[in-house]
């Protein structure tokens, strides 16, 4: 079973018991210990790998030295033969045979080091991948546990304060109503402000004798006189 399913199963299984931690703290600790162990193994493997790689380099340098030495002695043997010095040539040949043997040995050692370092490199890569995977899983488990605990905290807080999370539609309606009220108030304030500024303009105009003037007694009298005649 994958980590996702494990979390879901644990979550669903314990979901009825509010406040109870479903992800076992102990198993999390064990998991964390496993991660630390894996990290330690990784460090060891890396150190070992460095060691083996150094030895591999050493062995291949030794092989180069031996090969060069063999070539060198072969020329010596040729030179000895050219001088018809069979005894010396044989002596050199013996040396070459000895060097050959050493080379074969060294090749075997080198091969084993190469093999070892390849294996260790693979192991390091694999461990690194596994470690990353463990860490990802642990983070998932911990987050799940944390959300669970947070939910329990929230639920407890709501049940002790006797308040209740409202039904979604009702909540939205209330929020919208508040928003509407706010908007209405804003609009009312704007209208009021508009009216005020209109009034003040009107009064300024009439003071200046511009626009429609208030009728006064003289004007009324004039109007009546005009009608009579």
């Amino acid at each position: 079973m994958g980590i996702f399913n494990k979390i879901l199963t644990a979550f669903r299984g314990g979901a009825t018991e509010v406040g109870e931690s479903i992800i076992d703290a102990n198993s999390t600790r064990i998991f964390e210990q496993e991660i630390r162990d894996a990290e330690k193994h990784l460090m060891q493997a890396k150190r070992e790998l460095t060691d083996v790689m150094a030895k591999e380099m050493q062995a291949s340098r030794e092989m180069e030295r031996l090969t060069a030495s063999i070539t060198e002695h072969e020329t010596y043997a040729e030179q000895a033969l050219a001088q018809n010095n069979e005894t010396l040539a044989l002596e050199v040949a013996e040396k070459i045979a000895q060097l050959d043997e050493e080379l074969t040995e060294q090749q075997a050692i080198n091969q084993s080091f190469s093999h070892n370092s390849a294996r260790l490199k693979e192991l390091v890569k694999k461990t690194e991948r596994q470690l990353a995977d463990y860490k990802r899983q642990l983070s998932m488990v911990k987050t799940t546990a944390s959300v669970q605990k947070a939910t329990a905290t929230i639920t407890d807080s709501f049940s002790t304060s006797n308040s209740k999370l409202l039904n979604a539609k009702d909540s939205l309606e209330r929020i919208k109503a508040k928003q509407q009220q706010f908007d209405d108030r804003l609009k009312a304030a704007e209208t009021l402000e508009g009216e005020n500024s209109e009034q003040s303009l009107q009064s300024k105009l009439s003071q200046a004798g511009i626009g429609e003037q208030k009728s006064n007694a003289n004007a009324v009298l004039d109007r009546i006189k005009a009608r009579k005649s």
């Binding site: 979901a15 931690s21 983070s139 911990k142 987050t143 944390s146 959300v147 605990k149 947070a150 939910t151 329990a152 905290t153 929230i154 407890d156 807080s157 999370l165 409202l166 039904n167 979604a168 539609k169 009702d170 909540s171 939205l172 209330r174 929020i175 508040k178 928003q179 706010f182």
Partner: protein
């Protein structure tokens, strides 16, 4: 980043916030500390913030399983999946028998980023409830 400094920051924002919202928040203590963040005039849909080892989680509950019309459940899921990507910063979730919207932030987030997250999450919640009210009883 911890719950207390976040609470202080949000409560002291007043009109200086970047989102135009006023926050009113208080920590709820429990096994895990949770900050209840109320946005003024939206108190009905609070946001709960908790800080884990590697992220800041902001969660808002949408509705309970009991509020979903049984015949609309599949259609509701479909819509949730379709909206999950277009919806900015938040994603759908289900915790116990409640559907939720949540956003996760890096622990290295700035206060302004958290503020932004909370504002967007709240907007998303209202939008989603409005959008999906046909699925609800």
């Amino acid at each position: 980043m911890n719950i207390q400094t976040l609470a202080n920051h949000l409560n002291n924002l007043n009109d200086d916030g970047h989102t135009g919202f006023k926050f009113d928040c208080y920590p709820i203590s429990g096994e895990v500390e949770v900050l209840q963040v109320n946005i003024v005039n939206r108190e009905e849909i609070p946001i709960f913030v908790s800080i884990t080892d590697n992220q800041i989680l902001c969660i808002s509950y949408l509705w309970g399983e009991d509020e979903v019309k049984p015949t609309s459940r599949a259609a509701m899921f479909e819509t949730m999946l379709e909206l999950n990507i277009p919806m900015p910063l938040s994603a759908f979730a289900k915790i116990d028998d409640k559907y939720a919207l949540y956003g996760a932030l890096s622990l290295a987030s700035s206060m302004q980023e958290v503020e932004q997250e909370l504002a967007v999450l709240s907007d998303n919640c209202l939008e989603i409830i409005d959008e999906m009210s046909d699925y609800l009883v």
